[in-house]
C-alpha cells in the first residue's frame, strides 16, 4: 500500500568550500574544472530588512543563498513555497558564545543571541526575507539530516501536492566544540521539488529504503566534502544530475537504513 516518494527537480542551489554556486559545482562534478580548496564565500543577505540583515549569521546567509539560487533556477515565487530545512546543527558560533557566557558569573545573555540559538533560526529569517507563510519544516538527523529532509520534503510533494523547497545545510562550530564536531565550513544544497513534470523539470527522483552502502565520489577532494559535511551526503546524487546520468544512486541516511534514489532525466 506504499506510495512512492517521488518528485521532479526544477531547481538546484549549492554552496560549499571552493564551490560558490551550482554552475561551478556542476562543472567540477562533471570533471571540467578542478576543485579549488578555498573557504566558503557567503553572499550578503540583501533580501532581509536592515535589522535582520545586521543580525544574520552565517547559516542565515547560507540558506538564503542556496534557497534563492534553487528558486531562481526554477523561476519559482519564493513567497508561495513550502520549505523543509534540514541541518545537523544550528548556528555554532552563537551556541559557543552562549555556552561560554553561561559558564561565567555574568549570565545575562543577549536576547538576539537567544532567539538566534533556535535550530529553526535560518528558517525564521527565510520567512521574514521571502514573506512565505506556507508550512516550514525544520529537521535534524545528525549525519543523516539530508536524507531525513528529503523524505519529509517528498512526503509533502506527493501527499499535499505542494511544490516544496528542500534546503539542507550545515555550519562549523568554533573551538572547543569544533574538536567534538569537526564540520569544517558552511555548505549546503537546495532542491526545488514539484509534484508534476513541467518544461523546467531537470529530472525526477524516486526514493526507496535500501541497505547497501552509500556511493562515494572518485575525486578525493569531493569525497572529503561528502564525508565531513552532512548536507553534502547529497553529492553522489548531484554528481549524476551534473553529468546528466540516469539510474540509481545510494545516499547515506541512518545506517542500516540508506536511501536509494532512482533518477530519470527529462
Amino acid at each position: 500500500m506504499s506510495r512512492p516518494l517521488t518528485a521532479w527537480i526544477e531547481g538546484i542551489g549549492f554552496l560549499a568550500p571552493g564551490l560558490p554556486d551550482w554552475p561551478t559545482a556542476r562543472a567540477v562534478l562533471r570533471g571540467e574544472m578542478p576543485l579549488t580548496a578555498t573557504p566558503s564565500v557567503l553572499p550578503a543577505p540583501s533580501l532581509l530588512p536592515p535589522a535582520e540583515r545586521r543580525r544574520a549569521s552565517r547559516v542565515v546567509k547560507l540558506t538564503l543563498a542556496i534557497g534563492l539560487e534553487a528558486a531562481a533556477h526554477a523561476g519559482a515565487d519564493t513567497a508561495k513555497l513550502a520549505t523543509v530545512f534540514s541541518a545537523s546543527g544550528a548556528d555554532g558560533h552563537n551556541c559557543h558564545s552562549i555556552c561560554e557566557q553561561l559558564a561565567t558569573d555574568d549570565r545575562q545573555i543577549s536576547p538576539t543571541r537567544f532567539h538566534n540559538s533556535v535550530h529553526n533560526a535560518a528558517a525564521g529569517y527565510w520567512g521574514i526575507a521571502t514573506g512565505a507563510m506556507a508550512p516550514c519544516q525544520v529537521i535534524c538527523a545528525y549525519d543523516g539530516s539530508f536524507g531525513a529532509g528529503l523524505i519529509d520534503a517528498l512526503g509533502q510533494v506527493v501527499l499535499d501536492h505542494q511544490t516544496t523547497l528542500l534546503i539542507a545545510y550545515d555550519s562549523e562550530y568554533p573551538e572547543p566544540l569544533f574538536a567534538k564536531r569537526p564540520v569544517p565550513d558552511v555548505a549546503g544544497v537546495s532542491l526545488l521539488l514539484t509534484p508534476e513534470r513541467s518544461e523546467r523539470s531537470l529530472a525526477s527522483i524516486t526514493v526507496t529504503p535500501s541497505s547497501v552502502s552509500a556511493e562515494s565520489l572518485a575525486d578525493a577532494a569531493l569525497e572529503a566534502l561528502r564525508i565531513s559535511i552532512p548536507a553534502l551526503r547529497a553529492l553522489p546524487l548531484l554528481q549524476k544530475l551534473a553529468r546528466g546520468e540516469a539510474g540509481e544512486v545510494c545516499l547515506d541516511y541512518l545506517p542500516p537504513m540508506q536511501l536509494k534514489v532512482d533518477i530519470r532525466l527529462c
Binding site: M1, L102, P111, G124, G127, P135, P176
Partner: protein, 405 residues
C-alpha cells in the same frame, strides 16, 4: 487526512509522572509550578520541574534515572527524561508490541525538542581545560547536545532500524512531529510511528527568556489581564500512531494537522495572529471539519502579553466565543519543544475522560480577548479538540484530535 489511531500515549511533566497523575491534577486545578531552584540558576521566576518533591506521585527525579549500560554515552538530563517518559504508562511495552507486529524497519521515530541536551554542554563549558580550553573527555556532543540525540537514543533504546528524524522549530516542535509522521503513515512508508517531544530545563532557555523579558516573577497566568510572562517547564510526552480502519469506540484519533509560518519576526508573533489563524484553518481543512465541530481548544497560551493577544484574535476570528478554550501552561509551565506533544496528550485525556481543563493561576480573563476562556476545569463531553503550538521563527502548528464514536 485519514484519521490515525493513538494506540498508546503518555505524559510526564511537573504535574507528575503519567496519565493518572496528570488527569488528577488537571481536574482538580492543581499547578506543578514552583519558585525556580534549578541547578545554579538565580532568576526571580517560577518553573515547572519534573521533581521528586510530590511524594509517590513521582517515582524518582529525572537525574536519578539510570540509562542502560549499553546506552551510557547518551546520559544527560534530556535523555534521562526521555527514558522516564518512555517507561511510563506501559508505553515502551506498547512500542515493543508494535515492533513485533510490523518489524524494526517499519516503526518510525519523530520527536520534537528545542534544546535537547544542551544543559550537558553548558555544564561541560564550566569544566574546560584551563590550558587548552578543551571540553572534557566525557562530553559527547552527538548523544547529548545534538538535536537528534533524543531520537537516536529512542531508536537505539528499541533497536529500531527505520525512518527517524528530530523536528526542532522551537515551541511548535512536538506538534509538528504529528504532521510529519502522519504524512509517512499516509504514504505507507511506515506502519507505526513513535511521536512526541522532550525538553528539559537548562540555563540557555531560563536566562534566554529572561533576557527577552518574557519570564514572569509569578506563576504564569495565561490569558489573564495582568499576565506578564511565562513559567519555563520541562516534559516528555509520547504517542504511538498507527493507521486504523475501524477504531474501537472510545479510541483517541488524530484527525487533522495544520502548519503555517508567520514570516514576521524571530521572537514576536504576528500581531493579528495571521499565521496562527492559517494553521488552525489548515487543521480544520485537513480533518474535513468546520469550526462548529470543535468542542475544546487547548491554547498555546504562553502567558506573554503578545502571544495571548495574537492567538486570542486568531481564535476569536475563527471560532467566535462559541468554543470553550484554555491554556494548561499555568499547570505544566511552558514545556517548550515538548509542549505540542504534552498538550496533544492533555487533549487525549479530555476526549477520553470527558472533561475540559481549566487554567490554574489565571484569575481575571483579559476582557480584550473575546474568547470563551475556562478558568476552572469542568466535566463535559469532548468529541473533538484542537490544540495550538507556536514557536520562535514564526512556526505554527495546530492539531485536531477526536474520539471514535
Amino acid at each position: 487526512m485519514n484519521p490515525l489511531l493513538l494506540s498508546a500515549y503518555t505524559v510526564t511533566t511537573c504535574l507528575g509522572r503519567g496519565l493518572d497523575a496528570t488527569r488528577e491534577a488537571l481536574r482538580s486545578g492543581r499547578s506543578g509550578l514552583a519558585p525556580c531552584a534549578f541547578e545554579s540558576v538565580q532568576l526571580d521566576t517560577w518553573i515547572g520541574e519534573v521533581a521528586a518533591s510530590q511524594g509517590d506521585v513521582l517515582r524518582g527525579a529525572v537525574d536519578a534515572e539510570k540509562l542502560p549500560e549499553s546506552l551510557a554515552k547518551y546520559d544527560c538530563r534530556n535523555n534521562r527524561l526521555t527514558q522516564m517518559g518512555l517507561e511510563t504508562d506501559g508505553f515502551a511495552d506498547r512500542v515493543r508490541e508494535a515492533i513485533a507486529r510490523y518489524g524494526k524497519t517499519r516503526v518510525g521515530v519523530f520527536l520534537g525538542t528545542s534544546t535537547a541536551g544542551i544543559l550537558q554542554t553548558e555544564l561541560a563549558y564550566r569544566r574546560r581545560d584551563p590550558e587548552t580550553g578543551a571540553l572534557p573527555e566525557d562530553f559527547h556532543y552527538r548523544t547529548s547536545h545534538n538535536s537528534f540525540s533524543l531520537v537516536e537514543f529512542t531508536r537505539d533504546y528499541f533497536g529500531l532500524e527505520g525512518m527517524a528524524m528530530a523536528i526542532s522549530t522551537a515551541c511548535s516542535s512536538s506538534a509538528k512531529v504529528f504532521a510529519a509522521a502522519a504524512r509517512q503513515l499516509e504514504l505507507g512508508t511506515i506502519d507505526a510511528a513513535i511521536v512526541g517531544g522532550v525538553d528539559t530545563l537548562c540555563l540557555t532557555t531560563l536566562y534566554g527568556f529572561a533576557s527577552l523579558q518574557l519570564t514572569s516573577a509569578k506563576p504564569c497566568r495565561p490569558y489573564d489581564a495582568a499576565r506578564n510572562g511565562i513559567s519555563v517547564g520541562e516534559g516528555a510526552a509520547f504517542a504511538l500512531l498507527e493507521r486504523c480502519d475501524q477504531p474501537a469506540p472510545g479510541s483517541v484519533l488524530l484527525l487533522g494537522t495544520g502548519e503555517s509560518s508567520d514570516a514576521y519576526h524571530m521572537s514576536s508573533p504576528h500581531p493579528e495572529g495571521l499565521g496562527a489563524k492559517m494553521a488552525m484553518a489548515a487543521a480544520l481543512r485537513s480533518a474535513g471539519l468546520t469550526a462548529g465541530d470543535i468542542d475544546y481548544i487547548n491554547l498555546h497560551g504562553t502567558s506573554t502579553p503578545a502571544n495571548d493577544a495574537a492567538e486570542g484574535k486568531a481564535v476569536a476570528a475563527l471560532f467566535d466565543k462559541r468554543v470553550p478554550c484554555s491554556s494548561t501552561k499555568g499547570a505544566t509551565g511552558h514545556t517548550l519543544g515538548a509542549a505540542g506533544a504534552v498538550e496533544a496528550v492533555i487533549c487525549a485525556l479530555a476526549l477520553r475522560h470527558g472533561f475540559l481543563p481549566g487554567s490554574p493561576g489565571t484569575e481575571n480573563v483579559d476582557p480584550a480577548i473575546p474568547v470563551d476562556y475556562l478558568l476552572k476545569s469542568r466535566d463535559g463531553k469532548v468529541s473533538r479538540a484542537l490544540t495550538n503550538s507556536f514557536g520562535f521563527g514564526g512556526s505554527n502548528c495546530s492539531l485536531i484530535l477526536g474520539v471514535a464514536p
